[in-house]
């Protein structure tokens, strides 16, 4: 457990009487590529939102590199090295593709607040370097000057990942990175994620089982807000309780 980069203990989120997540004891090793799967409504997105600081937890604790970050605000978690790409591409549509990444790099370089009311960010060469590097990683360098809102669905989602990368994360949370993508785009993103996993810890939510089974080091299955099973792809595939959870609920997963 000592090599865990991100860990939760008894983590839970209640919305009134409804528990979206409860008793989640979860741990990811540095450098691991971990998938979080589960039927619709299993509480995957809520779990991610608690990790990234979008939603405060109502129970339990979150630790990042041994430090308790349960109460830490979202922007400060990003500064520590936790970045997230969203289920629906969350970008700055009116800015250029490059500027989307520059903004993220600017936050990385200047911190959560900088009262620089006279000097332009262009003085910071590091910002442009990091932004270009992030675009290169997701293979969007050729579209750097395009308006982000005009990109295709798949490119928008990769830009969202690039934005997360420009914050120089140690762990990257990807919420359904291939949802709604064509087969060709899925393959491209699959390759991208495998590449990223060599550089950092990656945690992803995904419904595409073919991809999950091929890409993950290990898988955590959430069901009704709790951890149902955890193990290697082969173990999860053979797990009777997982099969039951999926077949008893939605059949879209094809485990």
């Amino acid at each position: 457990m000592s090599d865990a980069i991100l860990e939760t203990k008894g983590l839970g989120k209640r919305f009134g009487a409804f528990a979206a997540n409860s008793d989640i004891d979860f741990s990811v090793r540095e450098g691991e590529l971990r998938a979080v799967i589960g039927p619709n409504g299993a509480g995957k997105t809520t779990f991610f939102n608690m990790l990234s600081g979008i939603t405060p937890a109502t129970d339990g604790e979150i630790y990042f590199l041994g430090e308790r970050i349960t109460q830490l605000a979202g922007p400060r978690r990003v500064a520590r090295g936790i970045a997230k790409a969203f289920q629906t591409a969350n970008i700055y549509p009116d800015e250029t593709v490059l500027q989307n990444c520059r903004l993220a790099a600017l936050a990385h370089v200047s911190g959560s607040f900088a009262l620089e009311v006279f000097r332009s960010s262009r003085r910071l060469a590091e910002v442009d370097r990091v932004a270009h590097e992030a675009l290169g990683l997701v293979d969007l360098a050729t579209l750097a000057g395009a308006r982000a809102g005009d990109l295709s669905h798949g490119d928008k989602k990769r830009l969202d990942i690039a934005i997360a990368l420009a914050t120089k994360p140690r762990i990257l949370l990807l919420d359904e990175p291939v949802a709604g993508m064509s087969l060709e785009e899925v393959n491209k993103t699959d390759t991208l994620i495998r590449g990223l996993a060599k550089r950092m810890t990656v945690l992803l939510i995904e419904h595409d089982m073919t991809m999950i089974m091929g890409i993950s080091d290990s898988i955590t299955v959430l069901h009704q807000g709790k951890i149902l099973a955890e193990g290697t792809p082969a173990e999860i595939r053979a797990n009777a309780r997982v099969q039951e959870a999926y077949l008893g609920g939605h059949t879209e997963g094809h485990v």
Partner: protein
Amino acid sequence: MKALRFYALTALGLAVFPFVIHPLGGYGGLATQILIVGIATIGFNLLLGYAGLLSYGQAMFYGVGGYVALLTVSRFFPQYPNFWLAIFLAVAFVTLMALVIGMLVVRLYGIYFALLTLAFAQMFFFIVFKWRDLTQGDDGLQGISSPPLTLGPWSIDLTTAFPALDLGPFGNLSDLHYWYAFVAVVTLGVLGLMRALVASQFGETLGAIRENEERSALVGFDPRRYKLAAFVIAGALTGLSGALRGLYETSIAPDALTVETSGNFVVYTVIGGVKTLFGPLLGTGLVMYLQNVISAKTDAWRLIEGIIFVAVIVFLPGGILGTFRRKSARTELARAVRATPESAP
């Protein structure tokens, strides 16, 4: 070079402005009043245009700025009436006020933000109205002559008129007082500040937060602190405007803190053009001109103001200057689309 051109052209514009409105029926003092109020509107545009925050309570900063400036002269330091001290205390007090109020209001969004700023403004209106010992209640502070402007060895009475010089249809140079020159210099400085601020790292981040606050928080920016800073800067400029107004008019009454005053800043900005540098000044000038000049000719000036407001919102949704700019953007887009092969069926 670009900065030099900006300052030179703006200074030229400010120098000819009073003589341009003269043939249109604008009296000498109107140009000064427009610039003074314009300073507050420029600050308000930082909130509405660049931070996307609709404050409906800017009158509290404007009014309190005016009261503090005049009270500094008449009540706090009557034995040493000093122009700069009056301005400094007014701006300092309003800045602090904006900081405290801002910490509470930047947590809210949209209509709730607007209503909370409105509620604070109403509280300050009530305080000013009821604290008769200090503010003279609804009579307001009257006849408090402004101390001379001290600049090193010089002591300048701002109410002095410029020397007589007949400018034909553009009136006479002596229609203007030194006040105008002083306020024009301040306006130039405020425009320069706003120009730098918008292009700065701070302005860039503020724009990003306005465009997508959720994303901005999750790249590591703290949206509340940026919005608070914008709120304080806008408040300080509004306080400066109020202080100048008080000293210029030599009086102030609670009407400076009314909802109507707050609403005026919104109207001026929207008509002139949100998110443009000169729009707020243009909107202030246009509407104040109508309020002052048309109201002398017809009682229906409110109706005219209303029709203009509606027309701008319906036909020029970016405001007068904003629409010009967006039109050129639209042309660029059309050009880009034409250059792209058909992508849609």
